[in-house]
């Protein structure tokens, strides 16, 4: 409990948490505030925002409700962001732990694989994967995870290498603990704190990558996302800038919220969280 309190007591943490809760509640309450399919036609085309109380943010070129798009888009962004980051951290931690703990040949082999994934620019890798595998939410999630798992892998490996030499790992060996138990009970939990900080960055990057993929038309066409909305708005940018600006603001709020919370979490964990 005290961790939460410390998190919320700093201005960074409080603002970040506020922003994130706005996004989260938008995502959770979407089906109630704007029931039905957000891709369905809701009114006349290119209605300006704040002109019709039933359509507070106006409509796009096809007459779809911008507010509905915003709220349902929040869902997509959060789901993709969190799932991709989780997959990335999970895969990276496993590989990093095995490499750091097993050492020698296994370590070398795994690190060359990590190198390969790290050399290719993340976004291009995701782009290539989605182009080949087709655009659907699961594919997008896998693509983003593949493009970002190399960093957590390196980080975890570095931590494991350092922790491996500590006295308490030696003590575990002397007691007769099985190596697998040592790796996952003694080493991994202590290697994770810096990875959490990285995870937050990965979430933010994942949200942006997903938006970029959708913007390019490579995302899931059956789901409304902020990226696809921005892409839609691109065509009428001069006449109706709000179509791109509004989902853009959504992106800014989401990413900013994630960053601020991760900063504050790092401080709250601070001296107490790491050995």
């Amino acid at each position: 409990m005290s961790f939460l309190r410390r998190l919320l007591s700093s201005p960074t943490g409080a603002i970040g948490a506020a922003l994130l809760s706005v996004i989260a509640s938008a995502a959770l309450l979407a089906p109630w505030i704007s029931p039905g399919d957000p891709l369905s036609i809701a009114g006349p085309a290119l209605l300006a925002p704040f002109s019709d109380p039933a359509l507070p943010f106006g409509t796009d070129r096809l007459g779809r409700d911008v507010l509905a798009g915003l709220l349902h888009g929040a869902r997509t962004s959060l789901v993709v962001g969190l799932a991709a980051a989780a997959a990335s951290v999970l895969l990276g931690s496993m590989v990093g732990t095995i490499a750091g703990f097993a050492g020698r040949l296994v370590d070398e082999a795994l690190m060359r694989v990590v190198d390969a994934f790290q050399i290719v620019p993340g976004f291009l890798l995701a782009l290539a994967f989605v182009s080949v595998a087709g655009g659907s939410l699961p594919t997008v999630i896998v693509a983003i995870a593949l493009s970002s798992w190399a960093q957590p892998a390196r980080l975890v490996r570095a931590e494991v290498l350092s922790i491996r030499e500590r006295d308490y790992v030696a003590a575990a060996r002397v007691i007769g603990m099985h190596p697998i138990e040592i790796a996952f009970k003694e080493i991994l939990p202590n290697a994770l704190p810096p990875v959490f900080a990285l995870a937050a960055v990965i979430v933010a990057a994942a949200i942006l990558t997903e938006a970029a993929l959708s913007f390019l038309g490579l995302g899931d066409p059956n789901v409304v996302t902020w990226g696809s909305m921005i892409a839609e708005g691109r065509n009428v940018l001069r006449a109706a800038p709000f179509l791109s600006v509004i989902p853009g603001i959504g992106l800014v709020v989401a990413v900013l919220g994630v960053y601020l919370v991760s900063e504050a979490a790092g401080e709250a964990l601070g001296r107490g969280g790491r050995p």
């Binding site: 006295d167 308490y168 060996r173 007769g176 603990m177 099985h178 009970k185």
Partner: protein
Amino acid sequence: MTEPLLTARDLRRTFTSGRRHITALDGVSLAIAPGETLGLVGGSGCGKSTLARVLTRLIAPESGAIAFMGDDWLALGGGRLRAARRHMQMVFQDPLAAFNPRATVGGVLADALRIHAVVPKAARAAEVARLIDRVGLSSGLIGRSIHDISGGQRQRVAIARAISVRPRLVILDEAVSALDVSVRGRILELLVDLQRETGVGYLFISHDLAVVRAVSHRIAVMDAGRLVEEGPAASVIAAPSSDVLAHLIGAVPRLTGIIRPERSEDRQDDAY
């Protein structure tokens, strides 16, 4: 004549860093009888910590043999080694670094008991309580995090962990060096007490000859990877035959009077 508990023969180990070769163990042989405390002294860099790590098989020797409880200790591997480890335990110098930062006092002991199935699962909690009490700690500490207790208390938990699996030999590597003077004496008394009760043997490693003298039956002296002197504690202190031991004796601070050893004109201070 009972068979020795531990026999080490001609252990050798070198460390290479770039072009530098450091001979940490240069043919070390020693023996420990059951229930005996062998004190091992030497200055920093003499190889005593490396010896501890070789004996506990944290690192491997390049050559040499170790017989422990009648078995070829170095030949064991995998599950058989892990099971056999219960009989040779170790207490480390830094009580804070010797525990998983997330550990609790009770958790540490429970893990050890579980790994070797020392008592049936249902009896584990009671055994943890018994161990805590045996090392002079209050049962209120069982749920506490390792961070939340003092250095002396932590070392007691380390000792409890070591004896929880009922070992025949405990290696203490500078186990009291990081503790306050007032705490040190009580930990030493606890160790001697436990030995009297369970017949466990100790390899007591320290650079502090006075502490070693207090708890050891026999004393061995190491210098530059070799054993240079060995014998009953009282005898070697009274009549040291090696320069190394003579220097160690001279360097022990006494409560009154001068601590500095006799200085000869060409004595090499640069060695330190």
